[in-house]
Amino acid sequence: MSLLKLSHVSKTYGQGASEVRPLDDVTFEMVAREVVAVTGPSGSGKTTLLTIAGALQAPTAGVVEISGEEVQGYSQIELAHVRRHKVGFIFQSFNLLEALSAQENVEFALALSGHKGSHGRERARQLLSKLELGTRAQAMPRQMSGGERQRVAIARALANDGDLILADEPTASLDHKRAIDTLQLLRGITRDLGRSVLIVTHDMRAHDYADRIFWLEDGQLDAVEHGEVHTRPHDVGPPVAGIATN
């Protein structure tokens, strides 16, 4: 079963002379346990693709299917339900809730998907431990490094039971080492947890961790080979310590 399926999806902003069409009849599919990187020039519509794939906005035309559920025509309440349970988001600037500790940030997402109380707390602790943040669980976001914050954000994205992780420029706010760590972690998630990750990014290093790469420009999404946009030794990274499919 495909985790994400976009069929003839188009998105148009504005009208007449000011009309912009970042997605034009895009058809695309993701299956379990794969990392897909979408790259392209600035303003090409990568984020639009991600937000449509994440049930944050509706396409102008076409069909979006998330984990087997067609979401077109859904109300905002229904779309929010899909996001809570089927999609995990990783943002460029981490977007942790500043008043909450690392553990509480993860607990928050867990609670949204129905894992509340001591069960949620325990699961948040486990997730953070598996991402090597066990000793930083009570730290506030302002007390953490960029890499740590991004790992908390990844733990939050893993909190619900969905199989689809959508990452928007996940390395943009990180230095080289932490960017590589993050990409390895995302790669490990697919391998060890059976999740699939869609990364939209300018960062060519992400291609080295992707199973498939797409180029988005002028509304068209085209598959490209690894060597076509960048060449670098493929490195799937070390296993993510102790992560087990739940």
Binding site: T47, Q92, S93
Partner: protein
Amino acid sequence: MFSIAWKNMRAEKARFAFSVAGVAVAALLLAFMLALYSGWSERIAAYVNDVPADVWVSQSGNQSFFAASLVPDKTFDDVAGRPGVLTVSTLLGRSLKIKHGDSTYDSYVLGFDADGIGGPLHIKSGRGTPADGEIVIDDVLARTADVGVGDEITANDQTLRVVGVSTGGNIVINQLSFVSKDEAHRLVGISGIANFGLLKTEPGQAKAVVADINANVPGVSAFERKEFASNSRQVLKRSMLPILSVVIVMVFVVGAVVVGLTIYTATMEKEREFGVMKALGTPHKFLMLAVGEQSMLCGLIGFAVGEIAVVGASRFAERMVPQFVTLLRWQDALIVLAAVVAMSLLAAYLPIRKVLSVDPLRVFKA
């Protein structure tokens, strides 16, 4: 789960403190106004209520202690002969300027029958039965004017020696002083009339006596003590309630604006985080509750601080200004609580609308 609202407020202690202080000041003002009103309501008719008379008789058409009432002594003789009436005592008085040293004070000077009822309620010092040339003054006036037993004061150009200090005669707008009936005639400048008659009736007959006097004695109106006290309180209610209502509305609006502004500003600054929550699929109901809870927490803590402060403020005010009468009642605290809750809900309205309108797509912009 933990409370996002509480976490947010703990993370921004200065804003939280400002918001709580705003509500606390509003709650304090509200509670203080109500305490003042309750105190005045209780005190203004306390004398009428506490004097051991079963029935009050006044000039026909006059229903309270604060309206002018002139009744001939002969009419009170007629009243004394009515069935069920045991004794009739009369009061004659007027508001006078009392001079002590270079200062002048207002007091309502009442002349009463030495062998009847209607004198001072409780004696704090000295004695409560003034002879000619003597006066018993209320404790509040004594403290305000710094007058004690043995001092001399002047009223209507007559020198009177203070022989007693009483309590229970502070009726807010004035303090009652007591002289003999003969002294009252001299001070008022008339004789053969009185203002009020205070009746003792046979047990359980007060109602019947009132009906009988109203039906058979021309020129007077009779009231059971409780009714006369209630009528006297109405004078305060009619004059003070509209003013009080305006002040309460103003305080309410100021409180709501203070809380509303701080919550709104806090919400605006957290706009991106609310966008993140929406992107993660947080239901609108949760977001509304988070903002509402924040507003409500500020309100309830502010209420508690305000209620504690009003106890201190009341004591301080009464110590500084003896005429100041406040009464703290749990019923008034409930009114303040209801106002604070309403204030907090109102304050949360715009921030909630703002949160619900946040576009989750904005969090994808760096």
